[in-house]
């Protein structure tokens, strides 16, 4: 938050952030479907998806739904390693990919700790969630996932505007990000995030 506060003092340009209130998420995957439709995402790959983890055993059990989007990091690992600078951060913080410049080497995929990047099956270039930047730029409110969310769990907004819903929630409700130790400074925040569930990976791997 410190960093955002400082930026706010010097500029009024928007600096986007996303907050996902997991207390409201019911795991319906409307975000996943809306994203597919909005961004023409082909079969087998996803710009956003809902990670589903079951924790505990009956009757003391709970299902955790963790929608995953690109974190649009302040210190992205992906942009640093791209050999052709095809992926870069916009001034508003969104990390985008130039599909005409990308050579599809996969290095950004290898560097991203959140595994949100993929190689488009037919175009052969890297793709990922960009918080629907074309949609946001054209003035159409929020990204498709946030607009579609049935319970209003996904809040998209300007972190530089202290009056925005996202700024208010971040300031007043305890929140967390995924894998803060990477130093990537992600800007997708979660309320009521279960760190253990978020870090759980599929069994059968890792010995």
């Amino acid at each position: 938050m410190d960093k955002e506060m400082k930026i706010q003092a010097t500029s009024t340009a928007p600096r986007y952030g996303m907050l996902i209130d997991l207390r409201k998420c019911i795991g319906c995957r409307t975000c996943q479907v809306a994203c597919k439709a909005e961004n023409d995402v082909p079969l087998g790959v996803y710009r956003t998806w809902v990670k589903e983890v079951e924790k505990g055993s009956y009757p003391e059990v709970r299902r955790h739904f963790i929608p995953v989007v690109c974190n649009q990091c302040d210190e992205p690992a992906c942009t640093r390693v791209c050999p052709v600078e095809a992926t870069y951060s916009l001034d508003n913080g969104i990390v985008v990919i130039d599909p005409h410049r990308c050579i599809g080497c996969g290095y950004c995929m290898a560097a991203c700790p959140y595994a949100v990047r993929f190689i488009h099956p037919t175009r052969g270039v890297a793709e990922k969630c960009d918080w629907c930047w074309p949609r946001v730029r054209s003035g159409q409110e929020a990204p498709a996932c946030a607009t579609g969310c049935t319970t209003g769990a996904i809040v998209f907004g300007d972190l530089n505007d202290p009056g925005s819903e996202i700024s208010r929630l971040l300031a007043t409700v305890p929140n967390a990000v995924l894998k803060p130790e990477t130093g990537n400074q992600p800007r997708t925040y979660y309320l009521a995030l279960d760190d253990e569930a978020a870090r759980a990976v599929e069994h059968g791997h890792g010995g």
């Binding site: 998806w49 690992a77 791209c82 052709v84 080497c105 759980a200």
Partner: protein
Amino acid sequence: MDMTVLDTVSHGHAFGFSIAIYFYLTGLSAGSFIISTLAYGFGFEKYKPLGKVGVVIATLLLVAAPMFLLLHSGRPLRAWHLFVYLNATSPISWGSFLLTIYPINCVIYGWFMFTGNAKLTKTFGLIGIPLALMVHGYTGFILSFAKAHVLWRTSMMPILFLTSALVSGVAMMILVTIIKDKFFSEEGKINEELIFGLGKMLLWLLVFDLFLSLSDVGVHYFGERESMETARLFLTGAFAPLFLGVETLMGKVIPLVFVSVPATRRVTVYGFAAVLVMIGIFTMRCNVVLGGEFIPLL
């Protein structure tokens, strides 16, 4: 507490088999180039028979290696972007130039060697050594800078890659000497002094390589959560047969015994050891590249 991942998305490996092959070929190239310069750059007369064949192999391998990069790339026809749009913090960007300059230097060095210009051969041989080290060392940095994967994000990668490059290069030179002397020389007599000289080199390189790779896994074993998981993957998990069995035991320990025990000081045994080492290092490339990405991130 019981934890079951019911659903998540995995987009598969960023790097794959062709990248492992690419690393293997650049390693062999760098290794054989350095052996080639022992006689022509540093004046070790014993290794003179390997000078010419070494530079030819180094050049050919380095021409073949980038083909696997094109094979891996989603848009191979955009390879020219690498020379037009640069990113100083991306090792792949450094590599575009190393992969261009190094084979050119190899050709110039080889040209002077074949035309008998000893002075210029030495000059270009010595220029080639840092280039050979960089052209393979940079591949280690490619993995080191991919911070998502705990096996890769360590400063061990470049030195480990350079060492295994020399190991596989020397092993290949043992095989090349045997094949060259046996089938392509007039008298068909194998230069034993050369084989045993290379064997001695192989011995110390294997010791160093074992030290590095076991330190790496050892430190991971005592590290944080992701490190421990990775160490377990290689010590008891899915990659254990490849890492412990093929790479370490078959590819390093057994050849090490063969080239260090006086009883096995025979050309055939050294040749066999060299084959084992080459298989072992190829397995090592696969283990590092495929094993590094094996554990899902999310």
